[in-house]
Symmetry: C2
Subunit: 237 residues, 2 copies
DNA sequence: TCAAAAGTGTTCCAATTACACCCATGG
DNA sequence: CCATGGGTGTAATTGGAACACTTTTGA
């Protein structure tokens, strides 16, 4: 717009790096968690470690969905995990912060190259999740989604937007059980909804609603070993 | 996944081209239209012309939203047009069709480079739309969204997904008036909804609903020069 | 006076909300 | 027998769906 045509328009002849970042949600019966990684460290020098959402460059011949699946499978051995693309983040300066420069210079073939990222979010059953060493990550850990530390790049914004999208989809498609074990009680499910939506729900109304949607089905089985009336167990239909 | 580590993982060291494609919707009181362009032609040889949705590579230092805005402004001089990012299309073979190879070899600095595109859709008031010559396009024209010819690349899929997203957002956010002139009647608005949603609506219920949402406001003005009872005019609130 | 679209209300049913007590179990 | 969470119903309100006739204008 502001360029005069004395200079040719700056076509992006260098290309861009394209990455996929996965906001992995997990639920521990009390808090909604997001999986963070420590950015991997060079073997030689020591960088100030930063936290980030797991992500990696998209490989040649790999679709975006495949890249997201790969990233998830490098972190755990789970299959069939819920994954959804939710937004592309393409600010030209999104990796230009001082805090991110050294890491890029260490790990990227072309550290000056612009990086576009496609955001996915993913729902995993925390009970079954066993972290694995991933090529792109150091240690991994879970943090409360309502208490996220300062992250690398624009990852705080990415997590925030993922949460908004998750709320939307929870209401529309009732995908909550993806975050719970195979067998769960309606109280667990309700608590999950309350924490994701960040508001209290009425027990009787919640049950009526969930049962009407027919996304879950009652098992012929009850909770065991609890110090109160054991609850009916449900699983996804 | 299937790679053994005898070969290094094929990192995308070439980078990708990143483009933005805009599905521009317009409404002519009868049909919902999509703006297509003829792919631009080289001055020398003559290619079989293909149709496509307007789009262009994202420039250096340009965000995705800015690129989408620029593409739209190169096609028309309208400002303040409704624009929304809706999906990233990243299949590694999305531009590998035979039909697209010659065009890429003619117009791209790196025709072999993988191209990722970010899909936007846009709502314009057809009444105010005056096409302009755009750097990336030959002729432009409008076609019925329910009768789209075969397009370049994966643009048929892009248009289809844009329509699904538009339907969603029309119901949720009542953005329909973005496709109508400043002043419109409720019958026009209803017809627009019917065509986008592809189903008939009840007149009385439609009016009750729209007025309850308070997204439109009645003007002190009526239709003129119609051969029936003139309708109340409305504008967006 | 006719044709054409504008405009308007009511009834019925389904969904949403608010609300409080008894029950089954383990310790 | 007590503490803990599990489990249940009803009434009031609100929103959605179905449905048909009268009005205003220009020709």
């Amino acid at each position: 717009m502001s360029k005069k045509n004395s200079e040719p328009t700056p076509k992006n002849t260098l290309g861009m790096d394209v990455s996929v970042d996965c906001v992995v949600f997990g639920f521990d019966n009390d808090t909604l968690k997001v999986l963070l990684i420590e950015q991997k460290q060079p073997d030689t020098v020591h960088l100030k470690t930063q936290n980030a959402v797991p992500g990696d460059l998209v490989l040649d011949n790999e679709s975006l969905d495949e890249a997201a699946k790969r990233i998830l499978q490098e972190l755990t051995s789970l299959k069939g995990i819920y994954l959804k693309q939710f937004h592309a983040f393409g600010d030209p300066n999104r990796v230009r912060g001082l805090k991110d420069q050294q890491w890029l210079r260490t790990f990227r073939v072309n550290p000056e190259r612009r990086v576009l990222t496609i955001g996915y979010y993913s729902l995993v059953k925390l009970s079954e999740f066993k972290p694995k060493a991933a090529s792109f990550a150091g240690k991994t850990y879970w943090v409360d989604v309502y208490n996220i530390p300062s992250l690398a790049f624009d990852h705080n914004e990415i997590v925030h937007k993922a949460l908004l999208m998750l709320r939307h989809e929870l209401m529309a498609d009732h995908i909550g059980f993806e975050l719970l074990p195979e067998k769960f009680t309606l109280s667990q499910l309700q608590k999950l909804y309350e924490i994701i939506l960040d508001k209290k729900l009425d027990k009787r109304n919640f049950r009526k609603n969930i049962l009407r949607t027919e996304t879950v089905t009652a098992l012929e089985e009850k909770q065991q070993g609890v110090l109160h009336k054991p609850a009916q167990l449900f699983s996804k239909k």
